[in-house]
């Protein structure tokens, strides 16, 4: 979990066990570890508010880029990689798109909400999300009225955020939608308008008398399908999709027995991963690739470079393509994402500082060291080693050879898998 280690972080963990570090980071409070400050705590100051200003759109675009950059910096530099990894996981799960909601302020609050609850209580997060202004805008909840219910949120609540297909009926979708009518977005958050709310008791997921936010949430979080559904989703992201249902069921039991608190679930999944003989490698998504590349080389890309690279690799944080979140990772092996990765690696190495440990390893054709720095302690795949060696030997100087070889290491298939 996390977005990679820089050579200095690697050194820091060399004597200790990195998995022990992650283990402690899952539950920092218990281990007396400090939790980093919310990176967007002061973000609102740069969000433009004067909608009448002639350059409002320009200001908003600049603020949006600044936010995007702050977020990636935090993912890269945080002392709490588990927190950032989980926050990004929930971003993919709830998949609210800044492009759709068109309110940067609401989007910042949404991200803060995800981070606050990232390893807290799932029922609390789900309840907060349901009346989060960004979500109310994203899935039309703010237009959901007693007179004309809009079922967009009600459906995704059941299908994507809690139970999964097959565990609810169309009537349940409608019942949830009616019971959640009356929530409006205001300047400072969400507000409940009783006059637009349909308080008629509904039968929802076999519970009678469901009529408002609390009763909907009770029925959802007490449903037997929820623990397994969320466990599967988190496990797939951490361990890959090959984990059998029987193991997922064990995670679900832990999750259910701990009142749907996330820390015990994350611990169970990470422990299972550590005890597996051979973990199945998974394909890295572009955000993970980019941040790892920055960490390995010590390059700090600027916001335009990052936006360009990630948009060409087809994954922009804050802009998942649809309600299902970012595509499955093999999507990022498309012809165009592959070409963009190669071109991005070229830019990164041309900016890599001379003293970079990775560059030094490449210059001295020390492929074993370079592989370790790239996170492959067992070395690169043989074709990658052969290719690096050929390229290095044919290069006019070790300095140029080092840079182009580093580019190949970063764009190699090896660096695409975790």
């Amino acid at each position: 979990m996390g977005f990679g280690l820089s050579p200095s972080e690697m050194e820091l963990h060399q004597d200790k066990n990195f998995s022990e570090f992650v283990g402690k980071r899952i539950d920092p409070e218990k281990h007396g570890l400090e939790i980093p400050a919310e990176p967007f705590e002061n973000a609102e100051y740069f969000i433009p508010t004067d909608k009448d200003a002639s350059d409002f759109k320009k200001q908003e675009r600049a603020a949006s880029l600044e936010l995007f950059d702050l977020w990636l910096d935090e993912m890269r530099d945080t002392s709490d990689p588990v927190l950032e990894w989980m926050t990004f996981f929930w971003h993919d799960h709830f998949a609210v798109s800044a492009r759709e909601i068109k309110s940067l302020r609401a989007f910042v609050r949404h991200l803060c909400l995800l981070r606050t609850h990232a390893r807290g209580s799932y029922p609390t997060m789900l309840r907060e999300i349901t009346i989060d202004p960004a979500m109310l805008i994203f899935l039309d909840g703010y237009k959901n009225t007693a007179k004309k219910p809009n079922e967009n949120y009600g459906r995704e609540l059941l299908e994507l955020y809690s139970l999964g297909i097959g565990n609810y009926s169309e009537d349940d979708v409608m019942a949830a939608s009616r019971a959640l009518t009356g929530w409006r977005v205001t300047e400072n958050g969400a507000e409940f308008k009783p006059r637009q709310h349909d308080d008629t008791p509904q039968t929802f997921l076999s519970n009678s008398n469901v009529h408002d936010l609390d009763t909907v949430m009770d029925a959802v979080v007490n449903h037997e399908a929820l623990p397994g559904f969320i466990s599967r989703k988190l496990s797939d992201a951490v361990l890959g999709t090959e984990i059998p249902d029987a193991v997922i069921n064990e995670f679900a039991v832990v999750f259910a027995n701990n009142d749907l608190e996330l820390v015990p679930l994350i611990e169970a999944i990470v422990d299972a991963g550590l005890s597996m003989n051979k973990r199945v490698p998974i394909i890295r998504h572009p955000v993970s690739w980019l941040l790892n590349a920055e960490k390995v080389t010590g390059v700090k890309l600027n916001v335009t470079e990052r936006a360009n690279m990630l948009s060409q690799m087809n994954m922009l944080p804050g802009r998942p393509p649809n309600v299902g979140g970012f595509p499955k990772t093999d999507h990022y092996l498309s012809a165009s994402s592959t070409a963009a990765r190669f071109s991005s690696a070229g830019i990164i190495v041309s900016k890599t500082p001379r003293e970079s440990v990775a560059l030094q390893a490449a210059k001295s054709s020390n492929w074993g060291d370079l592989a370790s720095i790239c996170g492959h302690i067992n070395g690169f795949n043989q074709p990658t080693i052969d290719s690096l060696q050929d390229l290095w030997e044919s290069s006019p100087s070790s300095s140029q050879g080092g840079r182009v070889c580093l580019a190949i290491a970063l764009s190699s298939p090896d660096f695409m898998v975790i």
Binding site: D140, K143, N144, K147, K148, N150, E151, N152, R155, E159, I165, E170, V173, G240, V280, P281, I282, I283, A307, N308, S311, Q312, N314, P321, N322, G324, D330, H331, L333, S334, A335, S336, T338, A339, A340, F342, S343, G346, I347, V349, S350, N381, P383, D386, S387, D390, L391, S394, S395, Q400, R403, V404, C405, A407, I408, S412, P413, D414, M416, V417
Partner: protein, 420 residues
């Protein structure tokens, strides 16, 4: 930043013979079927000579039939696309219903009219080149985005991980795999997912290029990148990342010469029209490309539908008309069948937000030889407030697979009636 230009790539990929037969040259190189010698950089400046560019148009591959699939992603509202002249329609849609007087009429039909944005489609109708399917859907597809999308992509209602075109590519793959037989432009295309065949997915053709660090030898770096791909590792994830490399390099040379001339803003999303222009050019290149999938998104109109839907349909019809003009003037129109799909229709009744929620049956257009209107919108027999399915979407798939030469029933697992 030096860019490998189109011509350079054609040179690198061995020029005429290999490109024109549609065989992935980089992939062939990895298999040892090609001499490494072709990669020696020429002594002159790479680029300018016209001999290397004309090679791509050499008509070396057979003029095989082509299917172009336009995905209207998000669930197109069929009822406001092909509008029934029926009071029940207006009763269900008091604010977003389109007035009868604004509709584009279809010669010979008094029961339906087209959305006013779709005027150019009536020309296709008059030329006997438009088939319209009303009430298309896959039984039991449900109203979920994802279940319905899976069903439309796979042509199955149970969990199927391959796409219906992917299975056709598997079934008809020649001895030398050609990833350019199936191409998706503008995003991922699960429809092309096969078990053995590989197809080519290009999110944004205009940004699809390779760049190497300044002052370095591009050829040797690209070759080094390619060499990391072979031999394939036993681990499936690593092997998948390896296979992507020759596929990408092969596609670059081809797409670079096919993409539309205008260099668009790199931040802007690729327009539907420009994606379809690339598609028309790919057909013209005779790479034995058989299926091209192009996506146009934004049809999930839960709110403020009227203006949004108008804009989407304008983009759709502009792109399609422009595409058809191009393939006609290039002499390929006779072998192309264009078909629109959408994962579900929308509810008959509008919601309170000036939009429509997920429904069942929708509409499909097929442009190619012949004319007809199939199925209907049965507003008198709604199922849970949805239009009933009157034509199984797989009938249109069967028609398209026949067009490609089949095997059709084997791919779809059953025999569905054909539109023609």
């Amino acid at each position: 930043m030096s860019e490998l230009s189109r011509r350079r790539f054609l040179y690198l990929s061995g020029g005429a013979a290999a490109t024109a037969t549609g065989v992935g040259v980089w992939a062939a190189l990895l298999r040892g079927e090609s001499e490494k010698g072709i990669l020696v950089p020429p002594s002159t400046t790479l680029g300018a000579t016209s001999t290397t560019t004309t090679t791509t148009t050499a008509p070396m591959s057979p003029q095989n039939p082509v299917v172009v699939i336009v995905q209207m992603a998000g669930g197109n509202d069929g009822l406001n696309t092909l509008v029934p002249l029926d009071s029940k329609y207006h009763n269900a849609r008091p604010t977003i219903g389109l007035p009868d007087s604004n509709l584009i009429s279809l010669a010979g039909r008094t029961d339906f009219g087209l959305h006013p944005a779709l005027t150019p489609l009536s020309d296709f109708w008059d030329k006997e080149m438009l088939r319209i399917v009303a009430g298309s859907g896959i039984p039991e597809q449900g109203r979920s985005h994802f279940a319905a999308t899976d069903a439309w992509h796979s042509g199955q209602t149970d969990k199927e991980e391959t796409g219906w075109i992917g299975r056709w590519l598997d079934a008809t793959e020649g001895p030398t795999p050609n990833p350019l037989r199936g191409i998706a432009l503008g995003g991922g295309a699960p429809i092309l997912t096969g078990k053995t065949s590989i197809s080519t997915v290009i999110n944004s053709p205009s940004n699809f290029r390779l760049a190497t660090p300044p002052g370095t030898d591009s050829e040797s770096i690209v070759l080094a990148f390619l060499n990391t791909a072979s031999p394939l590792a036993s681990d499936p994830a690593l092997a998948a990342a390896q296979s992507a490399i020759p596929n990408s390099l092969d596609a670059i040379g081809v797409i670079d010469s096919a993409k539309s001339e205008v260099d668009p803003d790199p931040y802007a999303e690729e327009s539907f029209t420009s994606l379809l222009e690339t598609a028309a050019e790919l057909i013209n290149m005779n790479l034995d490309t058989r299926v091209i999938v192009v996506s146009i998104s934004g049809f999930d109109t839960h709110s403020d539908q009227l203006g949004r839907h108008q804009g989407l349909l304008e983009d759709f019809v502009t792109g399609v008309s422009n595409f058809w003009n191009r393939i006609e003037s290039n002499g390929h129109a006779d072998r192309v069948l264009l078909m629109s799909t959408s994962e579900f229709g929308r509810r008959v009744a509008e919601n309170g937000s000036g939009g429509t929620d997920h429904g069942a049956a929708s509409v499909q257009f097929l442009i190619g030889p012949g004319k007809g209107l199939y199925g209907n919108f049965d507003l008198g027999n709604l199922v849970d407030g949805d239009l009933p399915i009157t034509v199984d979407t797989r009938s249109t798939y069967a028609t398209a697979l026949d067009w490609l030469g089949g095997p059709t029933d084997e791919i779809l697992g059953d025999s569905y009636s054909r539109l023609f």
